[in-house]
Amino acid sequence: GSTTASPTTGVNGEITVFAAASLTESFTELGKEFEAAHPGTKVTFNFAGSSALAQQINKGAPADVFASAAPANMKQVTDTGAITATPATFAKNTLQIAVPEGNPGKVTGLADFAKADLKIALCAEQVPCGAAAKKVFEAAKITAAPDTLEQDVKAVLTKVSLGEVDAALVYRTDVKANDKVEGVDFAEADKAVNDYPIALIAKAPNAAAAQAFVDYVLSGEGRKVLTEAGFAAP
């Protein structure tokens, strides 16, 4: 559900937010707005890969909030009991075809991913964008012929922007953030929607302020910032 952000009493001090690297821009922005809305608070971010963050939290890192790029990494934390609250989905992301500037491979749709003479990059199945890509291909009944299965979206984008590959499947937000790649929409995109969950850490040092931050992210103000970055509403 969505709440309206309103200054809560007793919210002050420092909170530490562990957030997926892909949230760097939007959460930095959100943090500034939150601090403005709650004078006396300070938000410190630790941006890294979701799985690394999950590891850190499980090993006792002093975090207040965890915002993951995939439910799977959130589950790694809830499994160990480091998070007891039910995670809330604060954003969704869908896939888009990314092609280099000028689309040299003349890629128009998902069907081109089966062409052997095109260089294709996908995410590995172990990471969320790879899992999503698999669903999309299954839905479209296409057998993709990738040349490489990257460990994250960033690596895929690097190869697209340098023209090493002719096409790749990445998140819509990533295409939006990178001005050296162009996006090509395709019909099956909504067959694989990736959820971004957020939750309060069980032993959060500053639980009150942390809860306020979570609420802020889920609020209308939060949504606005996320939508600007290309995320879809949950």
């Binding site: 799977a72 790694q76 590995a124 460990q151 690596a155 690097t158 023209g163 090493e164």
Partner: protein, 259 residues
């Protein structure tokens, strides 16, 4: 007949050893041993392990062939600007490996400075191939070899080279028969560093060569992907990599050194 080892040396040495080994012990303690045999004998792990060993060894050979002469040149010749050259050679160490991979793509990629001609003229494309893995590993690991071997060359007494010259030996023969054998310990140390670094290489490899099982998926790549979904499996994979490298190093190094 020598006296006891001095505590002022042994104490830091033991602390240093503990610092390096206790985390490894931690890994061993926490590892889900039950899954080890299954992992060890799984086809993918075997494939990744073989590929890792192959690529690291080939990369080490490339580094030896190119790096030992380079180290010699830096140590012995009187080129102008040697100091700057030497600093430049260490640069790939500082470069985050992922950026190193990008740099390789910029040069050797399909649209790279050199790569576009390789592609046009010879139809050779290095990214996404096993050769690309070898290149990426060599790029990252070579500075280690060059720097330690250069230190060894620099410490070797140049008068033996003079003696060889008076016996009519060309610089090349002198290098091969006199200088190189006398710096063998340094070369072995550099080779070990280089091989180990190549074996553990991740960032530049995945950026330049991508990740395709059986072709470019080395163990570190497998470990990374496992970390995403199953950290315990990643630890087990790392331990497999460690055990293999310890076995190889312990087996080979003393043999090299004795020889």
């Amino acid at each position: 007949m020598r006296s006891r080892l001095p505590v002022v040396l042994v104490l830091p040495a033991v602390i240093g050893l503990a610092f390096l080994l206790v985390p490894l012990a931690g890994l061993l303690v926490e590892a889900p041993w039950a899954t080890l045999p299954a992992q060890l004998f799984s086809a993918e792990v075997g494939q990744a392990l073989r590929l890792s060993l192959l690529c690291a060894s080939l990369a080490t050979i490339v580094c030896l062939v190119l790096g030992v002469p380079l180290a010699w040149l830096l140590a012995r010749s009187d080129l102008p600007g040697r100091g700057l050259l030497r600093a430049l050679v260490t640069v790939p160490l500082v470069l985050p490996p992922v950026v190193g991979g990008v740099a390789l793509l910029l040069v050797l990629g399909r649209r790279g400075l050199v790569g576009q001609y390789l592609d046009q003229w010879f139809g050779v494309s290095l990214p996404f191939t096993t050769a690309g893995v070898v290149l990426a590993e060599a790029f990252v690991a070579m500075p280690f070899l060059v720097i330690s071997v250069e230190g060894a060359f620099r410490a070797a007494d140049p008068r033996y080279e003079e003696a060889a010259a008076t016996l009519g030996a060309s610089r090349w023969l002198t290098f091969r028969r006199v200088t190189l054998p006398s710096v063998m310990p340094g070369v072995v140390a550099g080779t070990v560093l280089c091989w180990a670094r190549a074996l553990g290489e991740f960032g530049a490899t995945i950026t330049f060569a991508g990740n395709f099982p059986g072709k470019t998926t080395t163990m570190p790549l497998a470990v990374y992907l496992a970390l995403e979904t199953d950290p315990d499996a990643a630890i087990v994979l790392s331990i497999v990599l460690l055990l293999v490298s310890v076995a190889v190093l312990a087996g080979l190094r003393d043999r090299w050194i004795r020889a």
